[in-house]
């Protein structure tokens, strides 16, 4: 009998194959930026060698927020309600601080209905990664404008979109967020590196990822009509027809330089990677870089701000080393004597 050669499966530092980090089949539109981010999550978690079941996948509601079903199938997760993932994660985090909390949200979820919770999670420095899959639109409800920056630089604006977009990175830096980065769904290498760093960071790590919506985010006014499509056969199309796109090509921009990326709708977007001179501990410098990029109609990517010293919420709370969820009745229920003492003190 011939010896069967086992197929060589690459393992990570904790001897897990990459398969242990994958999830279900995506039901997003072909070409959606969000799927690229899901792939990065799989890679980064595998690279980092975290036990899959020690990760908690959290999300709100939206196309982006559906993605936890498409990665880390061995992790528990919670696809919560629209815009309120931060609070649910906060509650989970403080009772089980030993998990790695990986939150995924959309720009609608984060910058509109959820902005209050996002701000307060940042303020508390909850130990979690928070990825905004930012496409400038409400994907799942079919293309209404969201409150964040446009992905396409030449987007024509309807009256509503005159409204100044919210730059979540600038907001976070201003709030003293302990880790703030921006990236692009098509920059796999950069994003993987950022995500790995974020997962290792103790504290709140915001990664705002530009993640084009191939179905609704395009230059035309009629983008809000579900039937609109973007190739030159546009007018031949039917109600409810969503063309298939391939994912955007990988773009990696060296530190300090920029690249123009062509989007599906034909527009381009300028990505600049922040230079190596950038002092990530200087909030004002980071804000200034963002304001400048805004004025120049480009997006600056990379780690923008970092503060490794800020204690995270679980530390502030002075919790016992054992996660609260692992404590038994002996620690959770005071003794009968204690009750007697309490009552005695009341009797005065």
């Amino acid at each position: 009998m011939r010896e069967r050669r086992a197929k060589v499966v690459k393992l990570n530092v904790i001897n897990e194959p990459k398969d242990s980090y994958t999830g279900g089949k995506s039901s997003l539109c072909p070409g959606c930026g969000h799927d690229q981010i899901s792939n990065v999550i799989v890679s980064a978690a595998w690279d980092n060698g975290i036990l899959p079941h020690k990760i908690a996948k959290m999300s709100g509601i939206g196309c982006s927020s559906k993605t936890p079903a498409y990665y880390l199938g061995q992790s528990h997760g919670f696809n919560t309600v629209h815009g309120r993932m931060p609070s649910v994660t906060t509650g989970a985090n403080v009772v089980n601080k030993d998990l790695t909390y990986l939150g995924v949200s959309g720009d609608g979820d984060s910058a509109s209905i959820g902005i209050g919770q996002l701000i307060h999670a940042i303020r508390r420095n909850v130990d979690m990664v928070y990825i905004v899959e930012n496409n400038g639109v409400y994907g799942l409800t079919k293309g209404q404008y969201s409150a964040t920056a446009d992905v396409g630089s030449k987007k024509k604006k309807g009256p509503i979109n005159e409204t100044q977009p919210i730059d979540l990175c600038a907001m976070a830096i201003n709030l003293g967020c302990s880790f703030v980065a921006r990236s692009f769904s098509g920059s796999k290498k950069q994003l993987t590196a950022l995500l790995k760093a974020a997962m290792s960071h103790k504290g709140f790590a915001l990664i705002d990822v530009i993640s084009p919506c191939v179905t609704f985010n395009n230059n035309d006014e009629s983008l809000r009509s579900y039937g609109y499509v973007k190739d030159n056969q546009a007018e031949l199309h039917s109600v409810g027809f969503i063309p298939h796109f391939s994912p955007l090509e990988q773009v990696e921009v060296p530190a300090g330089s920029y690249r123009d990326v062509a989007l599906h709708d034909g527009s381009t977007m300028r990505l600049e990677t922040i230079s190596e001179d950038h002092d990530i501990s200087d909030a004002v410098q980071a804000l200034s870089a963002l304001h400048k990029a805004d004025a120049d109609k480009k997006h600056v990517t990379g780690i923008l701000y970092f503060d490794g010293e800020k204690p995270s919420l679980d530390v502030d709370l002075d919790l016992h080393d054992t996660p609260l969820v692992e404590m038994g009745e002996d620690l959770l229920r005071p003794s009968a004597e204690k009750l007697e003492e309490v009552i005695a003190s009341m009797r005065g």
Binding site: G77, I113, I160
Partner: protein, 628 residues
């Protein structure tokens, strides 16, 4: 290990857990029967969303409609954007039945993802038109099989758009098979694509190719046919939500504050698209539209508008209603007019965002903490969506209170045949507004919250008018609006609010009652159940030999005629689309006990539009149980 994947397989109409297949003996042998079945069958089209099947299905619907055939279409779509299973159910019924029927007679199979389950769930004898290019097998012997190379035909026309055009091919096949008028079909295609000549031509050609494929390659082996009928003049298709949008505009909407959520978004998007055409003055807007940051803000905005003296509206669905609870209480207590449309989808929580239900009614009626009670309008037809679309504003300003419109995904997002809309037959009722000093002087002892007329409805002035300013508030206040914690002041205020809303009862739309002479069995229902009631009636009659009277409730608090209806009948069933019998519950709470003795409930909800047989059987069962 479990996580969600795309398992949407096998949604079929006969999946009610209570449903039983007909007994062996009862099964007719389809091959022997040669009688024609005309205009009385159901076509189920299984595709995936994002493929463009929606427009093919609408062409089919329009063609049948324009031939004068009573027809309805239901779109069962998933909660995502592209690639997941979608079913479209076309019901032809000379009797005018609009519910999805008991079974599928003709199945179009295009989607490999649900292929096997769809096929497995068919009854013997079903006609199956299937795409031979889908690489799936047709492994049933007991169905009438029509294989069609849909994709190949489409690819011949335009390779890039084959995925999309393949849908029109099956419309062509159906046209030939059932005997649809080619001219009408082509007109429908032209309607569907507006003025776009190239698209019209492409699609018409695809339909023709489907048609000739059928004529040339297939032999008719089934009994289903369509026949043109006299056409009711001037009818058209419209979604309930668009009808509400138009009604709101003819109701003088001044401010729309909204946040997107299925299935309500199209109310707002309808308003947004029609307003510029209908309400521009000297090139400027006579309305304000704001997409809010969330539902709380949308509610706040329309309350602000109402406080300032304008007609504000928001539309949302269950999760939004939950989020608006605090603000709704403010509007109730401070007596600020504003309009909330709830287009119900399946709850609780995020639930099934693209499925239908009447699950929010109880919540609307008693929205917010503390003692509250609200006015709710419940249209059952697209015509009423338009009518109540403007009437809600009058009610809200008349009673100075938040008013709800209540519809659902079924009524709101499907296209329904419509006879037309009646122009409002009354001028706008702005309620007890004091706009001038003269008016003010004529009111004895004015106070913002004083019940001058004894109907519980006070007068009000507007900001900016300079007349009797007050600080509105959600805290306790006396008749002048001054803060007060006094027990008797609070008690009196709450009693007046109670009387005010109670007094709206008979002002609100009366129920639509169809009475059978014998007045034995009554069925009370509301909203989109209107589309199933005729079939329910007929099946109950068929099963029991008894005729039923029906009473369609159209508003809360309940009109006195509803009580009279119950009074007159021996037994009355309240039929609704939810688990907890919400309208029945309201009646149990409010009606005299002697009426409750004859009140029975049939409440059922699984996300599907109400099927006639299912409700009929449950009604009969309830009647039988009640007799024991």
């Amino acid at each position: 290990m479990t996580f969600d994947s795309n398992n949407f397989k096998g949604l079929s109409l006969s999946q009610d857990p209570q449903w039983q297949p007909p007994q062996e003996g009862g099964r007719r042998s389809w091959r022997n029967k040669m009688s024609k079945i005309v205009n009385d069958f159901t076509i189920n089209i299984a595709t995936a969303n994002g493929t463009g099947s929606q427009s093919a299905n609408l062409i089919l619907l329009q063609t049948l409609f324009d031939m004068g055939i009573p027809v309805s279409g239901k779109n069962l779509f998933p909660s995502n954007i592209s690639g997941l299973p979608t079913w479209y159910i076309v019901r032809l019924s000379d009797k005018g039945y609009q519910a999805p029927g008991d079974r599928t007679h003709i199945q179009i199979l295009v989607n490999p993802a649900t292929w096997e389950d769809d096929l497995a769930s068919l009854e013997p004898g079903t006609v199956v038109i299937w795409n031979t290019d889908s690489k799936m097998e047709m492994n049933r012997e007991d169905v009438v099989s029509y294989p069609v190379p849909m994709t190949k035909i489409a690819r011949g026309l335009n390779p890039k758009l084959a995925r999309m055009i393949a849908n029109v091919v099956y419309v062509g096949v159906l046209a030939e098979l059932l005997g649809m008028d080619q001219e009408v079909l082509e007109e429908s295609i032209a309607k569907q694509f507006g003025g776009k000549a190239k698209a019209i031509e492409l699609n018409a050609e695809a339909a023709r190719l489907g048609r000739s494929y059928c004529a040339e390659e297939l032999t008719k082996q089934d009994d289903y046919f369509v026949e043109a009928r006299d056409i009711e003049e001037g009818g058209f298709f419209i979604e309930g939500n668009e009808a509400i949008a138009l009604g709101s505009i003819f109701g003088g909407i001044q401010m729309l504050g909204w946040y997107p959520i299925t299935p309500s978004s199209s109310v707002c998007e309808g308003i947004i698209s029609w307003l510029p055409k209908l309400r521009t003055h000297e090139g400027k807007a006579t309305y304000a539209i704001i997409q809010a940051e969330d539902e709380l803000a949308a509610a706040g905005m329309i309350i602000g508008a109402g406080w300032a003296g304008a007609r504000g509206l928001t539309a949302t669905s269950g999760p939004g209603i939950s989020l608006m609870q605090e603000f709704i209480g403010l509007a109730y207590f401070a007596e600020v007019p504003c309009v909330f449309w709830d287009i119900n989808r399946v709850g609780p929580s995020t639930g099934l965002p693209t499925r239908t239900q009447q699950g929010d009614l109880a919540m609307l009626y008693e929205s917010s903490h503390g003692d509250t009670k609200h006015i709710v309008f419940m249209p059952g037809t697209v015509e009423e969506c338009f009518e109540f679309g403007w009437k809600v504003f009058d009610a809200s300003e008349k009673f100075q209170t938040p008013v709800f419109g209540f519809s659902d995904l079924d009524l709101g997002m499907n296209k329904w045949a419509c006879r037309g809309f009646e122009y409002p037959d009354e001028p706008m009722d702005r309620g007890k507004l004091v706009l001038t000093q003269e008016q003010m002087d004529s009111i004895e002892n004015y106070g913002r919250y004083r019940d001058v007329d004894g109907d519980g409805i006070p007068y009000r002035t507007l900001p900016g008018s300079g007349l009797d300013p007050i600080l509105y508030r959600g805290t306790g206040h006396d008749e002048d609006g001054t803060y007060s914690e006094k027990p008797e002041v609070y008690y009196k205020l709450m009693q007046r609010l109670g009387r005010k809303i109670d007094g709206a009862r008979d002002y609100l739309p009366a129920p639509i009652i169809k009475e059978d002479e014998k007045q034995e069995i009554g069925v009370i229902f509301y909203g989109s159940m209107e589309n199933s009631i005729k079939e329910i009636e007929d099946i109950v009659e068929e099963m029991t030999g008894k005729f039923i009277s029906t009473c369609r409730v159209r508003a809360l608090p309940l009109h006195s005629e509803v009580e009279a209806f119950i009074e007159k009948h021996e037994t009355v069933i309240v039929a609704e689309i939810n688990r907890d019998a919400q309208l029945y519950g309201i009646m149990r709470k409010e009606y005299p006990v002697h009426l409750l003795n004859k009140l029975l409930s049939v409440a059922y909800s699984d996300g599907m539009p109400p099927r006639g047989r299912l409700y009929a059987e449950r009604i009969v069962q309830a009647l039988e149980e009640a007799k024991i």
